[in-house]
Subunit: 144 residues, 2 copies
DNA sequence: TGTCAAGTGCAATTCTGTTGCAGAAACCAG
DNA sequence: CTGGTTTCTGCAACAGAATTGCACTTGACA
């Protein structure tokens, strides 16, 4: 575990500084469940280091996004959620009725990727997808 | 054209009122290019009727969304964009490099829909999808 | 250890979207 | 056409996420 330290050191080699704040923010994202908001990251780090400012969280997330080290997803809740891309990639099915979230394996999207590549000459980078719909239970309830 | 008047009249039959504001907002969405933000709709209608408030735009969009008459998509710009669903459904490939947008036919997603339905008992409502990536031209340029 | 650019904390601000409320107006009945 | 009811609108205040300017701090490297 803690292989995200490699990420931080890689950052350093590209020319970015290795600050405690950045390490703690990466820790927080890595130890989260994969649906971590900027505010949650802020709270988590502040438990150990109360001076961390939310703007630093956003600036770090912006950096990690630009380098494709984390993915940003809006699950419809109005605030974005972040996830380490080095963890196993997966996507989400979100039920409009009960709000439940199911995980979908990344391999499900391979046929779509291939089709887009062949038909449109376009290399799709589908890092983290949120698909809305209705789960089976809610579907049954609405009809019963 | 202007077949969105049918939509407004359909609204009326479900019990909603036929107000000039709603008609003008639908006009604005329908005459847009399919990537119209709430603020753009507001501006467009205010050109003819300066008293329209932005909250009315949001309330109308919320209503149309709930009835699945318009789709809401976040193309990553931080503000949602709206499109009439009665227009032919399509999705977008957005190149991270040049910003170009390609349209993808809705049928491309059918295999994904079926797979999700079978494997996860989940009815996916993929109305308007934005997929980021790299187009062929930019891919070639970066390597050249 | 000293230098300096990158990074941080703080505070103020911007921006999108929401909400409470009073008045306006669409719809329906008569 | 008129009156009554309920929805809808405009206004203004508000909420919350994210951004920015600026002075101070600190990591990296000679």
């Amino acid at each position: 575990m803690s292989h995200h330290h490699e990420i931080v050191e890689a950052l350093q080699q590209i020319g970015y500084r290795l600050t405690p704040q950045r390490m703690m923010i990466l820790d927080a994202i890595a130890s989260g469940d994969g649906h971590t908001s900027a505010e949650e990251i802020h709270e988590a780090v502040r438990a150990a280091y109360p001076y961390l400012d939310i703007s630093t969280v956003y600036r770090t997330l912006g950096l990690l996004k630009a380098l494709h080290l984390v993915s940003e997803t809006d699950l419809g809740s109005g605030h974005a959620q972040y996830e380490l891309l080095s963890k196993g990639l997966h996507h989400h099915l979100i039920c409009r009725e009960c709000g439940g979230i199911l995980d979908v394996d990344n391999s499900f999207l391979n046929p779509l990727r291939q089709a887009i590549d062949q038909e449109h000459d376009f290399h799709a980078e589908i890092e983290h997808l949120a698909i809305f719909g209705m789960c089976n239970a809610c579907n049954a309830n609405l009809r019963g």
